[in-house]
């Protein structure tokens, strides 16, 4: 794997680990799943495929961020604003 790609993958992994601390089912659950996924693709050597995977990883980070935001917003709305 080329050096910039290697760095990008490591960054992805670190960022996701950091985000996993807020995962609803707990950090350990998230960490194990994350580790498995990264190990599964660790043999990949085709730079093009790796590029696509990195893109996918960045997309997943955005999705997790959106999930956390929505979850918090909904919790606050339910607690303080729903009159029913």
């Amino acid at each position: 794997m080329s050096l910039p790609q290697r760095r990008a993958v490591l960054n992805l992994y670190k960022t996701m680990l950091y985000m996993g601390r807020d995962w609803p089912q707990g950090y350990d659950f998230f960490r194990h799943r994350l580790h498995k996924v990264f190990i599964k693709n660790s043999e990949e050597t085709d730079p093009e495929k790796i590029r696509i995977m990195i893109k996918r990883g960045e997309f997943v980070i955005k999705e997790i961020e959106a999930l956390y935001k929505l979850k918090k917003y909904r919790a606050m709305k339910r607690r303080y604003y729903d009159e029913s």
């Binding site: 960022t15 807020d22 956390y68 935001k69 918090k72 917003y73 606050m76 604003y81």
Partner: protein
């Protein structure tokens, strides 16, 4: 350009199941995940957006509490705040710290730092007091816009859209002013890992309440903290007639 002060509180994370201490003196906080009060995140976001729109020159975050409050300040710094002030209040003093004290601290800091706008969350999700913004405005004798769902800067001051019962109210204020953030004001950004790292280099000043000349003697005593009543279990009725009979009994039809 305005200088903005935001108040942030470290509270038990919103997703944590709260447990009351057996002696009813408070809730269990040891070993429990804490994070920034969600309404304060909204306040921080609004201040940072003002800065990004070049309407604010500097954004300062303040937190009153034990050493761990610095983590909350780091989160604020990671979201884009320029510098932070940690007002250290620990132990028994922290347990009895009330909005009136925080308001006095914020008022004092606002004058010392010569800020033009104070933004705080409308309430904290732990004590739900909803008093700090109003009291701060009172101590400073500044106009206030509580429960803001929209904030606009005009030439002479601010236009604040407030969430009130059954609708919205628009108020115009001059600066300096105090604003409290409601849920719909904005969508706070996520403090990313690289930004948390960068935030470690931003300045964080530590002061005590005594330095600011604020007396932390409690004005209110917490008598007891109790669990909310448990929801009564429902029952399955065998047929429609029993259901109607039960509803009539309960006075619903």
């Amino acid at each position: 350009m305005a200088r903005v002060l935001v108040g942030v509180k470290r509270v038990i994370d919103y997703a944590v199941k709260i447990r009351v201490k057996p002696d009813k003196s408070g809730v269990v906080t040891d070993g429990v995940k804490h994070s920034m009060n969600p309404f304060d995140e909204i306040a921080v976001e609004e201040a940072v957006r003002l800065k990004e729109k070049k309407l604010a020159s500097e954004v300062i975050a303040v937190s009153c509490g034990p050493t761990q409050s610095q983590e909350t300040l780091r989160t604020a710094l990671a979201m884009g705040v320029d510098r932070a002030i940690h007002v250290e209040v620990a132990g028994a003093e922290y347990e009895s710290l009330q909005p009136i004290h925080v308001a006095k601290i914020l008022a004092k800091l606002s004058q010392d730092e010569k800020v033009d706008l104070v933004i705080v969350g409308k309430q904290a999700i732990d004590d739900d007091s909803n008093q700090t913004a109003q009291m701060t405005a009172a101590f400073l004798d500044w106009p206030q816009g509580a429960f803001a769902s929209k904030l606009e800067k005009t030439d002479s001051g601010l236009t604040v859209t407030r969430e009130i019962d059954g609708g919205l109210e628009v108020v115009k204020t001059k600066l300096p002013a105090v604003v409290s953030a409601d849920l719909r004001l904005n969508e706070p950004r996520y403090a990313t890992l690289p930004n948390i790292m960068k935030a470690k280099k931003k300045p964080l000043k530590k002061v005590t309440a005594k330095d600011l000349g604020v007396d932390l003697t409690p004005r209110i005593k917490v008598v007891s903290v109790e669990d909310p009543p448990v929801r009564q279990a429902g029952s399955i009725v065998p047929d429609v007639d029993t259901l109607i009979a039960k509803l009539k009994e309960g006075g619903h039809i």
